[in-house]
């Protein structure tokens, strides 16, 4: 595979192709027949997926640092260039995006019945922006993509959303923009500080990373601005209230992309920018304490509030707050296990929550309600749907053997050293997670079937199975054999840990060190 890719110079054009292809796809979508828009979009997104898969092999495993870096001057007088590249972390995020996109298109097949051309054009734009966010290595470029993700989602929520869509859309937009604009100021200030120290005006990521120390006494403020932007995106309690509204109002594809990919931009931002730029601030005891506290509050709070939601979508939205809190805990846990765990939670949450939203969308298409009380007892009528819902729910709950557990476990395991109390508190989320999801699926597929409407609830069609099954495969695969993904990400994680110079994991006892040596020798 690697040789084949080399023979076509895959590494040289792939990142550009991933950006440009969806934009090219917009043209036929907009110009074509409204009915064929979805087909065009599916073709384009699938092609994008196929192209992106090669990245898995193109990335040299075990090699730290950014790879496939391409640099095209853009606004030279300001030191801005179109600079892209990936490492293990970007890789999985890009793949997550490209995998979910065709599924989202497929899930919108019947759901979107008005203004199809606009919808699919926005979806493709969204794809470009999302991929761009994860591969951008120029702060300016990153910021542009970061903001660019807002527009399609804003329209997707606002035009094809539910009854309260306009409120949700503007809330989503303004919330995110508040943080990001402050980050914009921080980016510019950082660049000028670095310029003052090095004499070079450049927005290139590596340049800034190397010289971020120049921020000096401004570092706390700069970190605060970055952190706020990403915290809103994640979202960390108490910046989360846009999320339930946006999720509930968005159409299925919107919810999927929002939850599965867009929230990860926040945590990705912490890992890529906020923490490595200002490790001294980010990992200082005070800031750590604050972030970990907020993370743990988010974990428990999200779960508890999810427990009492009458609307299934809102429930899942709050569960996202809970899961993303775990990611934050993992990032601040500062060990190989916790950070790798955080990354796995990011992926797992993408798969599980994405699948949940897709299933909710299928329910909604049949019954036009997301209220739990409208359902009940349908396991008898639709066994396949019920089975998949159960599998996905248990994945989200964190049943070992499915994907959710892997990340959760690693995060908590890795964080116990640095934050024992927070970790123990966060661990209790496994109770509440089981509570809210199982209670919900009980009210949907179990209990007495007393609404005759539900008798006519049709089981999944082939198209719907095609949407869900890939995710279920991923769920089981990551649950049982996450090793390949972990190994791909490990160099990047290691580099992150070294860059942030955290006290390394681990063995707090002499014996632990000994064991480590033994393990190393064995391999």
């Amino acid at each position: 595979m690697t040789q084949f890719l080399q023979s076509i110079h895959y590494g040289e054009w792939i990142l550009h192709a991933l950006i440009v292809l969806p934009l090219l796809g917009v043209v036929p979508v907009l110009l074509g027949d409204p009915k064929s828009a979805r087909r065009t979009a599916l073709v384009v997104t699938t092609l994008e997926l196929v192209l992106s898969l090669g990245l898995w092999w193109a990335l040299v495993p075990g090699q730290a640092g950014l790879q496939l870096v391409a640099n095209i001057p853009w606004i030279p007088s300001w030191g801005i260039s179109y600079r892209v590249g990936i490492d293990g972390i970007s890789l999985v995020m890009v793949l997550l995006t490209t995998v979910l996109m065709p599924l989202s298109v497929l899930a919108s097949w019947h759901y979107i019945s008005t203004r199809e051309r606009g919808f699919y054009a926005l979806m493709l734009t969204m794809l470009t922006a999302l991929v761009g966010v994860f591969i951008a290595l120029d702060l300016f470029l990153f910021y542009v993509y970061f903001e660019l993700t807002l527009i399609p989602m804003y329209f997707i929520i606002g035009i094809w959303g539910g009854t309260n869509r306009v409120y949700a859309a503007i809330k989503f937009f303004v919330y995110t923009m508040t943080g990001s604009l402050l980050m914009l100021v921080a980016i510019v200030v950082l660049v000028w500080k670095v310029q003052a120290a090095t004499g070079q005006l450049s927005f290139a990521y590596e340049h800034l990373l190397r010289n971020a120390g120049a921020a000096g006494s401004a570092a706390p403020w700069l970190f605060a601005a970055f952190a706020l932007a990403f915290a809103i995106k994640v979202p960390i309690f108490p910046f989360h209230t846009w999320l339930p509204d946006a999720h509930v109002e968005a159409p299925t594809a919107g919810s999927v992309l929002l939850a599965s990919v867009m929230l990860k931009i926040g945590t990705y931002g912490f890992l890529r920018f906020a923490v490595p730029f200002f490790p001294g601030v980010a990992l200082s005891p005070a800031v750590s304490a604050l972030m970990v506290t907020l993370a743990v509050i988010g974990v428990i709070y999200g779960a508890l509030v999810a427990l009492v939601q009458p609307d299934f979508k809102k429930l899942v939205a709050y569960s996202s707050v809970s899961h993303l809190g775990l990611v934050m805990l993992g990032i601040w846990g500062g060990t190989m296990q916790s950070v790798q765990g955080a990354l796995i939670v990011m992926i797992s949450h993408g798969l599980s929550t994405g699948a949940l939203f897709l299933l909710i969308g299928m329910m909604y298409e049949r019954r036009h309600t997301r209220l739990l009380e409208a359902y009940g007892g349908i396991a008898r009528v639709v066994p396949v749907f019920s089975l998949l819902l159960t599998v996905v729910a248990f994945s989200s709950i964190g049943l070992p053997g499915l994907n959710g557990f892997v990340g959760e476990f690693l995060v908590l395991l890795g964080s116990i050293t640095a934050f024992p109390r927070a970790t123990v508190i966060a661990t209790t989320v496994v109770i509440f997670a089981a509570g809210y999801l199982l209670w919900a699926i009980q009210r949907i597929i179990y209990n007495r079937l007393d609404d005759p409407e539900n008798e006519r609830f049709g089981d999944l069609t082939a198209r719907e199975l095609a949407v869900i099954l890939p995710l279920v495969v991923g769920i089981v695969w990551i649950g049982l054999y996450p090793a390949p993904i972990l190994r791909r990400m490990e160099p990047a994680t290691r580099q992150y840990l070294e860059a942030t110079a955290v006290t390394r994991t681990g063995p707090t006892t002499a014996l632990g060190v000994l064991r480590h040596v033994v393990e190393e020798a064995r391999r």
């Binding site: 209230t241 396991a379 690693l410 970790t423 109770i431 054999y481």
Partner: protein, 657 residues
């Protein structure tokens, strides 16, 4: 290639069964024939593998466990968890019990579930359960064990709520899973602490280095073991997390036998035995384990006294017996705990399956007459020995076993636990109290079992005139496994026959390599000579007295069918309502939590503070200010000039300085 290296087959077979049966359940729910072959078939095959492994170990007892690594599961830096199975004496015993008893129960289920529309689904779940249970007992590290640990919880959830269209059943499943999860928090935290202390989660590493790593009686090991035990209280239904198990009887009876009596609920005991060295290093934790065990044994036994549902009696009996096992492992008599685990698996499975046969018969009788009476209420039974002689006989065997009447299996195992507790009393007098509680519980056990037998099988029949003719013995596919279990219940004591009766503690020796690290920390000196005789005598006497009292008290009173029976009053009512513990939990934990979530967090913090005050408040404030500015814009030139001049004066003031 040895059997030990093929141990993955033992897991893979039921898993394959699950996949086949699951596919059939979705696509061909009527293909009962194939299901009947595949379902029990894979279990029997797994049992063959298990037996092979056992014989292999028997012939050549290894000194170190055989670890069969399938693939690298969680390779993260220093943490290297393989998906690996560990074959040693302890897991081999569990392997045999799970596959053996499991096979019998699967066979029984072929008859029991025959008419159920979810036949294939049932076997799929059961197969899956066995697969997970085997992962649990075979896992070579804490996380792998945890896969099984949670997996059996999942299957338990699915099987309790098997008849999910009844809200009660679904509720019971949910409750079981949540309660288990509370315990799982303990398990998880314990793993984290172990990782922190050892830098590894492999059993071999942890047990091998525990004594060097952890200070005996230290805070770390105490914390680890207490958290582990929290996990056990969930899975093995100990105080305070036991309330799910009686509710779990909502599932089909074979489920109760397999999961909620013989295998899954004993996982906690297995875990303590597996990590014996840690508990041995933490005397405080051990005492707590034994204490909780003794308290649970007694407490659950009292509740069992006043239950009318035949399965509920057995459920509380299970809780109580599990308490015994914890007394054993908490005392340091790990082998005795495991011994009781094994014998209990036999006789309690037998009891449940017997009860299942009874319910089956009752149910069919009521079904035939379209009556809606409760088929599980013992007040509607009575005199069934005529209709179901085999079941009666075999259940009597089990009753004698559980009551601790020699030479039935339960006698030996229970006696060993009580003796151990008594022996430990020499060093720590509180164990005398545990011993006393155990003895009292034994008395109550004999009593409620006698009551159960008397109400079910003896006396006049209360089923109803029309129904009586429909009562008949279960088919052979069901009584066959009963018979096998009856034999095991009878002779199971031979597993670990004490010196007293000429045995040589076979099980204890067998487990020696696994238990060695714990025993190295502190070995219990068992009572011998006259003390031993005295203890044995007391135990037997208690059992006999309990049985006699139970039969007398039950048969001596006229019992009315459930429909006509007067409600219980006074303490009897308290017992019947299980001390109102469920209501207490509901009032103290569940409702406040939901209230907190709904009223305080959601409506208060989320919608009120964050969204209302902060977010929308900011928007509102902006609009108010904007509105104020609008009012300023009166349209009158004069006003504009005034503001202009104010600005002008400000600027001039600023330039003058």
């Amino acid at each position: 290639m040895t059997f030990s290296h093929a141990v993955w087959l033992a897991v893979a077979l039921p898993l394959a069964g699950f996949l086949v049966n699951g596919a059939l359940a979705l696509r061909r729910p009527r293909a009962t024939g194939l299901v009947s072959v595949v379902g029990p078939g894979v279990l029997v095959a797994a049992f063959v593998v298990a037996a092979g492994i056992f014989l292999e170990l028997w012939r050549e007892p290894p000194h170190a466990p055989t670890v069969v690594s399938l693939w690298s599961w969680l390779p993260v830096g220093q943490l290297q968890v393989d998906l690996a199975f560990q074959v040693d004496q302890l897991s081999a015993v569990m392997l045999l019990i799970v596959t053996g008893v499991g096979s019998l129960i699967h066979l029984y289920s072929v008859g029991y579930m025959k008419a159920d529309p979810g036949y294939a689904r049932f076997f799929a779940y059961m197969n899956l359960f066995v697969a997970f249970m085997l992962v649990l007992v075979l896992g070579s590290s804490f996380p792998v064990m945890f896969i099984g640990w949670e997996g059996v919880g999942l299957c338990s959830y699915l099987l309790i709520g098997f008849w999910f269209n009844d809200k009660v059943n679904a509720d019971a499943g949910l409750k079981a899973f949540i309660m288990n999860r509370i315990g799982d928090v303990g398990f998880l935290v314990a793993m984290f602490l172990i990782w922190r202390a050892f830098g590894s989660l492999d059993f071999t590493w942890v047990t091998g280095h525990a004594a060097d790593t952890l200070a005996p009686g230290g805070a770390v090991v105490t914390a680890i073991t207490l958290f582990l035990f929290l996990g056990c209280t969930g899975k093995s239904a100990q105080i305070p997390l036991y309330t799910w198990l009686p509710d779990a009887m909502a599932g089909p009876t074979p489920v109760s036998a397999l999961i909620h009596a013989a295998t899954m609920v004993t996982a906690g005991v297995y875990l303590v035995a597996r990590t014996n060295v840690l508990f041995a290093l933490a005397p405080v934790s051990s005492t707590i384990v034994a204490g909780i065990g003794a308290l649970t044994a007694l407490f659950a036994a009292t509740i069992a006294l006043r239950q009318y549902d035949i399965k509920k009696v057995l459920a509380y009996s299970t809780v109580s017996q599990l308490g015994y096992m914890f007394v054993g492992v908490g005392t340091g008599a790990y082998a005795a705990g495991m011994f009781h685990l094994a014998t209990h698996a036999f006789f309690k499975a037998l009891l449940f399956l017997g009860a299942g046969s009874v319910i089956h018969a009752m149910h069919e009788a009521y079904h035939a007459t379209h009556s809606h009476e409760d088929a599980q209420d013992m007040r509607n039974m009575g005199g069934l020995r005529h209709a179901m002689p085999w079941t009666f006989g075999l259940m009597l065997v089990a009753t004698l076993a559980i009551a601790g009447i020699p030479p039935f299996s339960g006698f030996f195992s229970k006696d060993e636990i009580l003796s151990a507790a008594f022996a430990r009393g020499g060093e720590a007098p509180i164990y005398y109290l545990f011993y006393a509680m155990g003895i009292l519980a034994a008395l109550l056990t004999a009593y409620y079992m006698a009551r159960l037998m008397a109400m079910t099988f003896l006396g006049p029949n209360r089923t109803g005139e029309r129904e009586r003719t429909h009562l008949h013995e279960a088919p052979w596919i069901m009584t066959g496994p009963l018979l096998a279990l009856g034999v095991l219940s009878t002779v199971g004591g031979a597993l670990n026959l004490p010196h007293l009766v000429g045995g040589h503690s076979a099980l204890e020796r067998w487990l020696e390599p696994v238990l060695a690290p714990g025993l190295a920390v502190g070995r219990l000196s068992m009572p011998e000579g006259s003390t031993e005789y005295l203890l044995v005598g007391a135990a037997v006497a208690i059992g006999v007295i309990g049985l006699l009292l139970g039969f007398r008290a039950t048969l001596g009173r006229g019992i009315l069918p459930a429909r006509e029976a007067p409600p219980d009053t006074g303490f009897a009512l308290v017992l019947n309502r299980k001390y109102y513990i469920d209501e207490l939990y509901e009032a103290v934990v569940v409702r406040p939590l939901l209230w907190l979530s709904r009223v305080v967090l959601w409506r208060g913090v989320d919608q009120g503070l964050v969204d209302g005050a902060a977010v929308n408040g900011a928007a509102w404030t902006s609009r108010v200010f904007g509105g104020g500015l609008r009012l300023l814009q009166t349209g009158h030139v004069g006003a504009y000039v005034v503001l202009f001049l104010v600005g002008a004066l400000w600027i001039l003031r600023a330039v003058i300085r």
